[in-house]
Symmetry: C2
Subunit: 231 residues, 2 copies
């Protein structure tokens, strides 16, 4: 392929790609599916399963979770200093830890990144405890006020009871949090010694203590279909 041949085939118009063009050409409409719930409530399992099913159907989808966001965009000082050769002062200022302010900023950045993905026509599936209503509502707000047009924001409340989550305890975090609390050193763990504020009006509520992953994914697909987001 020579660039001469290609040059003749290159056509474009002034200005940015509009949302409509993007959706027509990609044959999909971007949106954010925001999973919120306690540790062990099934957010990640469901997000990953939904991602697979969407991709199998030819939709571009991507899970944003602790793995790819906390250790990158929102990396704490220690990680920044150790693995990136970052100045300690900048790492302290910009890296996010677990204070209330840091958690809020963590969710704010995730909301912004999800919005960018959805604006690009991608399904952004976010999997974070995101315990505070105010922070989730702010994420919803930036989707609704998106410059290129409002983006669907689908809040999925994982309502699995804490007893079930704590019994699963896949990372042993509840055990750790209970021990810390008993020793008088609370760690601010959601559901143990930090509150979880359930959504007032979630688009969907799923209790994985009662619903299988298969059924939950089917409900999500049905919902996206009903909203005209997947066809």
């Amino acid at each position: 392929m020579s660039s001469e041949i290609k040059a003749a085939q290159v056509t474009w118009h002034e200005g940015s790609v509009t949302r409509e063009e993007r959706e027509r050409l990609l044959k999909q409409r971007g949106c954010t599916v925001w999973f919120t719930g306690l540790s062990g409530s099934g957010k990640s399992t469901l997000a990953v399963a939904l991602e697979q099913v969407l991709i199998q159907r030819g939709h571009a989808a991507y899970v944003l979770d602790g793995d790819n966001v906390r250790f990158g965009l929102n990396a704490g000082p220690k990680i920044l200093v150790e693995t990136r050769g970052y100045a300690e002062s900048a790492a302290k200022r910009f890296g996010l830890g677990f204070t209330a302010e840091d958690r809020e900023e963590n969710i704010r950045r995730i909301g912004e990144v999800a919005r960018l993905f959805a604006d690009a026509g991608i399904f952004a599936l976010t999997s974070f405890i995101s315990p505070y209503r105010k922070d989730r509502d702010a994420a919803r707000g930036i989707h609704e006020k998106n410059k290129g047009g409002a983006i669907p924001f689908i809040e999925v409340h994982m309502s699995t009871p804490i007893e079930v989550c704590e019994q699963r305890d896949p990372k042993g975090l509840y055990k750790q949090a209970r021990a810390a609390l008993a020793a008088g050193k609370g760690m601010g763990f959601t559901g143990v010694d930090d509150p979880y504020e359930p959504p007032a009006h979630p688009e969907l509520t799923i209790d994985t203590g009662k619903t299988s992953t298969r059924d939950a994914v089917a409900s999500l697909l049905a919902f996206l279909h009903q909203r005209g987001i997947v066809v």
Copy 2:
């Protein structure tokens, strides 16, 4: 469509979608095309034109630029406080201005977001002056060390001479910077009173003083084709 019917059709495997699956199903390989150069060198024009051409060919692509990143993910204190009702202390700590440290963090976050897009199988096209070699090399580094496998990072040096850029001066910024400098109040504007460090080994070099947008897009496509990133 009932969720019962759909449930039977839902299949997935344990764990995350692999890079290979994603690329096969989306029929494309993600990458980051990093445009760097002076204000007025043609970064944005070229990024937007390439985005359109890629999307026309059915590839998911997205331009990250000042418009959608600086006012969102990296918003400065003033914007955060005024439009988001953000606490002034948090806005001061997390919002980015124009000091050297802030600029570095700005580019670091953009590098992380571009990596997320590319990891999702999308073409991330970044359009930022990004004047410092160290910051661009760091962005390249996180692409090469990406957990799910190395991601192609294509650095495009917009080598348009400053005389040409300054003559274009689309936003009147050079005029402003020269006036500030003459008045003894430098504003640290790249090319005027702040250095631009050209890449040592860019994948491509384009001088839009000599090359038309059409030819430049054709060269970019030819390069992506040659690297097996677009077919």
